[in-house]
Structure formats: structure tokens, C-alpha cells
Symmetry: C2
Amino acid sequence: MARSRLTPERESELYEAVLDLLREVGYDALTMDAVAARTRSSKATLYRQWGSKPELVARALRHNKPVDLSEIDTGTLRGDFQALLERTDDCQMEKDSALMRGLAHAVHDNPDLHQALRELLIAPEMNGLAEVLGRAVRRGEVDAGNPALSLVPHMLIGAFVARPLIDDQPVDHAFLSAYVDAVVLPSLGV
Amino acid sequence: MARSRLTPERESELYEAVLDLLREVGYDALTMDAVAARTRSSKATLYRQWGSKPELVARALRHNKPVDLSEIDTGTLRGDFQALLERTDDCQMEKDSALMRGLAHAVHDNPDLHQALRELLIAPEMNGLAEVLGRAVRRGEVDAGNPALSLVPHMLIGAFVARPLIDDQPVDHAFLSAYVDAVVLPSLGV
């Protein structure tokens, strides 16, 4: 796809508008018409640039998450997790948490959205996390055969989804940091 | 509320219909009209028995989860978790997982539903889990000050939500059992 027609600033603006709409109305009610109206662009431009609604949404979500996990390398696994948390502020975490809630059901009903999310958002995050964990294994911090290694994403998603549901509290640094220390690191034997 | 007007069989039938509708159309599109039509009852009866849609949905969900966690007492924490898993079949787990996905967003937008779910479903489950964990503490299996004790629900919800999202697999016994052994028990120091 030729993305060169849009400046990076304009592309950013479009993605922000898609995410705002997603938080406001949810995935099902988000139409290409609404995106076009909100961003004062034509539907033809949207389809030419992104091909489809699932891909546009997945790209917008990926744009929202510019942290490259594999760049973090503090020398300890705990340090890497702390560095990762410090890169996201509390307000952004609450916004991410809202997006996750809004998408959990939509993903199940929309195989195209699920596939786009897997390719554009989930796979890169998994690869970054795998690299951080792989370094911990190579340093000898975590046993290579530890079965919790492949379950770290599940633990972290649980923290995001359950915090508002169970505790009626927003997800913030203090909670995630305590969760990493109490759950993630001990399950990895760190 | 006078529930004596309905036989237990009829009440069961109504709850099953509510859960079926919930899986089919989601919370927002589930109307009291649809429930009345599906169950061939009058809306007046529904409102007299349950007061409101959030309460009806919460009661139906509670009905779906008749396992009383506090009744499980095998003598070890691992045995208690295994016994808990054995009480639910794989098909029921997938159905529960679908309900959880459908409700995660609705709960956030509907404070009444969230409150009804907290009182009727979340609080009793938390109390049952707290009893199972409390016995493990009294037996000396888990340290009373272990910070993971209050995070077990978060770990388990993560397993349910992330399994289809990340691994594209349904939640089943084999996965949950491996997750308990790899994540929940090690974080508790068992």
C-alpha cells in the first residue's frame, strides 16, 4: 500500500481519531463513515491507505504502542519490567485498558480483526517480550524449561482486565509493579 | 422479592434462556422484551421477579456457576484447584469464557450491571476462593503475608481472557491445570 500520500503527522492524527472513536462507541459501531467525518477525509482515501476497517483499527492500535520492548535492556529481568512500566503513564494505561475491554468481544466475533491484531499488535509485542525473557534465560536468571515463560502475556492481560472488574480500581504503575513482583517474577523463579 | 411464583424448574429455564441470549446478542442488545418472547413469559413477571435487567443477568450468571468453592477441601491447595477444575467440563468453560468476553465491556458501561455482578457473582466466588486459600495458609502451605494471595483471581481471569486472544485456543482443563501448576502455585510459593 502507498502510504506516502499522507504525512506522518496526518497519519498520527487519523490514528488518534480512530482510537478516540473506538473508546467512545466500541468496534462494532465504528464505521468508516464516522472515521471519514471525524477526520475530514474521504472514505476512498481511508480504503486506499488501509484496505479495511480491521486493518485500520489494528494499525491505529499499533501506533498507540510505540514502545519497542526489545530495546529495553537493563541487565536484570526485574529492571526490564520496571523500565517497561516507566515508559507508559497511568492515564495511557487506563486508556489501553479501556481499548482492551472494548476489543475482547469484537475480536471473537470478527476473524479479520483478530488476524489483523495478531499480525500487527500481538505478534510484535510477543516477540519483544520473548526477547526480554530470552535474555533473562541467557543470563541464567530464568531456567530455559520454566513453563511460565510462555504464560507471561496471560498473567499481564489478567492484571489489566481483572483490576477494574474485581477491585474496581484503574490499572496503574503501583498495581502493575506490585503484580510483577508478586506474580510474574516468582512464577519465573526470579 | 417473592420468588415463590416460579417453580425451580421454570426459574432454571428462564436463566438458561437469558444466558443463551447473552451469548447470541451480547448484553446491550439483550432486552427484557427479547427475554419475555424467548421464554413466553410477560415482562411484568420478569420485572416483578428480578426488578431489573442487570439483576436478572447477574442472577442468571450466578445460577450458571453452582460450584461452591468453599465445599472443596482435599487437604492440599493443588488438590483443591484440581477438584475445582474437575467440576467444570471443557464445553462449559468455553461457554463461560464467551460470557466473560461479552460482559467485560458491558460491565464498564453499566454501573448497575457491575454492582449486581459484584454482589451476586464476584463476591461469592472471591469468598470461596479466599476460604480455599485461607485453609492453605492455616495448613502452612502458603505464607500469610504472601502478596500473591490477593492476586489469584487476576491470574485466573488472565488465563481465561488471554488463551483465545494470544494462543487462538479455547480454554480447557489441560491448559488451566498447566497454568495453575506453572503460575498460580509457584507465585504462592507452593
